[in-house]
Subunit: 306 residues, 2 copies
DNA sequence: GCGCCGCTATACATATCCGCATGGATAGCC
DNA sequence: GGCTATCCATGCGGATATGTATAGCGGCGC
């Protein structure tokens, strides 16, 4: 029932060596001595049936194909270990510990801060970590505890709650409209105006593409005059008057110089979800944050629907 | 960048103690001495900020709420470690090592053996493990390397390939038909015949339920005269003439005494998928098996479509 | 009530692993 | 060309963790 493999510590050293590229670097990161890490790798190679994991060179250790195949698994262990420590921090006390949250750049910087600030006032002992990213696998790999997503998380083993729909519509800065005029319709928009959009389209934005596709616009890089994959950079460009960009009404309303284009037609709807790994339901602190996010975002969505 | 937590070995001991319920049991499983495991737990509790993980008793150690919250994370580490060892087995040599495959009971025992036998003839050095189960989370948790599924795996971080549709229709054994006659239609079937079906409905069977729901049949336990959650037991019952049961044509055709009911009407279609964690694409052996399964199952589906 | 069997906790000898110090090798730079 | 800054490999003393042995405690069956 066991036939247990190598010590798990060896995997940690393996990962560190692959990532740092040298025994010395791994030793520094792990707080160990270089010979120790070297012996770990040696022991791991022996444990794994004489498998050769690195080609030693004076400049460092070069991972073999076999070692690279093992790396993702070691990363999974590392993520799980980190999640375990986060869960353990503060113990069963919901007023202490760490929570790590992932959200899109926009939500992470424009929507969450207010909501998280409120949570932090109520629970000052809980440390918060925010990871702005669009990667979906975060939750499965346990890189984060809770995620706010704009796509329905169809994953098993996930506790997910739908918040509602967030509108998205075209906005432009007054200064831009003064210089370029206001587009009459979609055709005019596409032909004679400067759109702000994506550079290399990110997978998780696909829903947006579909929606825009339905409106008759074909999405391709050349459609956009100002291209960046960062949502935040797009928002900044919109605020600077570079061009026209899709934006959430509540966020746009914060700048009185941003005005809706095309009479607010061509609204897109994005679903907003909060998701958490089921395993974390065992932690009172995580449940607290989950519920707080659901409530806070529901408020935001309600405001957005007005 | 690091602030590394406790030694990963401690997590392994933690998991073993939770699962066995005692230091001694964990020590036996891990091949360590009981005091060693005790010290591990002690060290872990200290590392985690004086967190209390167990209530010691003469009969064993009782995990606290905090320890139970950590368990899933430790399990994730364990699964990842096991997957790493499987990947490492045989090294980069695609002709050696281990592959662990998950499939439904039916597919695992009626369809895969022939396909896997062929693979095994070509690659006799590769050890194969088959885990018949309907749990979907296997791949994410890395409990298995490759899965054959009858539901579309909508998960990110998964390499999935759709094989095609597998028909499912009602069959009965000749002896049953002699005794009970042949049902004229669905109503007759539901009212006057013995159906073989599920006991406590398993989540992953839901697709089947939906399909059957479309046909007008309401699915509830009482509909079935012979109830078991094991697909294999259902098939065995069908072969023994217990009653009428949905079955794949290719499988039914192997027993000349099984005949289609209702003129082959009311066919259901199930999609067949092969899925693998993206991380495993780095392993040549896994890719080989993935491709072999795709080819072999495509052949099976083609045969089934005739 | 007695003995047996499971468990944990403690004490002590030992084997193991770790860190330190050193040597050798390569690459970049003045 | 020599200097320096990396890196890895090796040898050795010491700290650390492990295993063995034992004591103590509680439950269960006869």
């Amino acid at each position: 029932m066991d036939s247990r493999g190598p010590d798990w510590d060896l995997y940690r050293s393996l990962l560190a060596v692959i990532e740092t590229g040298s025994l010395s670097g791994a030793a520094r990161r792990l707080g160990l001595a270089q010979p120790t890490v070297g012996r770990h790798i040696e022991a791991l190679e022996a444990s794994l049936g004489g498998l050769s994991l690195f080609t030693r060179s004076p400049g460092g250790l070069n991972p073999t194909e076999a070692a690279l195949a093992l790396k993702p698994h070691a990363e999974a262990m590392s993520a799980a270990a980190a999640a375990l420590v986060r869960t353990a921090a503060g113990g069963a006390d919901p007023e202490r510990g760490v929570i790590r949250i992932s959200a899109s750049e926009i939500v992470g910087s424009e929507v969450l801060p207010a909501i998280l600030a409120e949570f932090h006032r109520e629970h000052p002992g809980v440390a918060l970590e925010l990871s702005p990213s669009n990667a979906v696998e975060d939750l499965l790999r346990r890189d984060v505890d809770i995620a706010v997503r704009m796509t329905p998380p169809t994953q098993a083993a996930l506790t997910a709650k739908r918040i509602g729909s967030v509108r998205l519509q075209f906005y432009a800065h007054r200064s831009y409209l003064q210089a370029r005029g206001e587009p009459r319709d979609l055709e005019d928009l596409a032909a004679n105006h400067s759109l702000i959009g994506y550079d290399r389209v990110i997978p998780s934005i696909r829903t947006l593409d579909e929606i825009m596709g339905r409106t008759g616009l074909t999405i391709h890089r050349e459609l956009f005059a100002y291209r960046t994959d960062s949502d935040l950079a797009q928002l900044a460009a919109l605020r600077a008057g570079v061009g026209i960009c899709a934006c959430q009404p509540v966020i746009a309303a914060r700048d009185p110089n941003l005005v809706p284009i095309l009479n607010g037609q061509f609204q897109f709807e994005l679903e907003m979800w909060v998701a958490m790994h089921e395993d974390l339901k065992a932690s009172r602190r995580m449940r607290l944050m989950f519920d707080h996010l659901v409530a806070g975002l529901a408020e935001y969505v309600k405001e957005s629907a007005r």
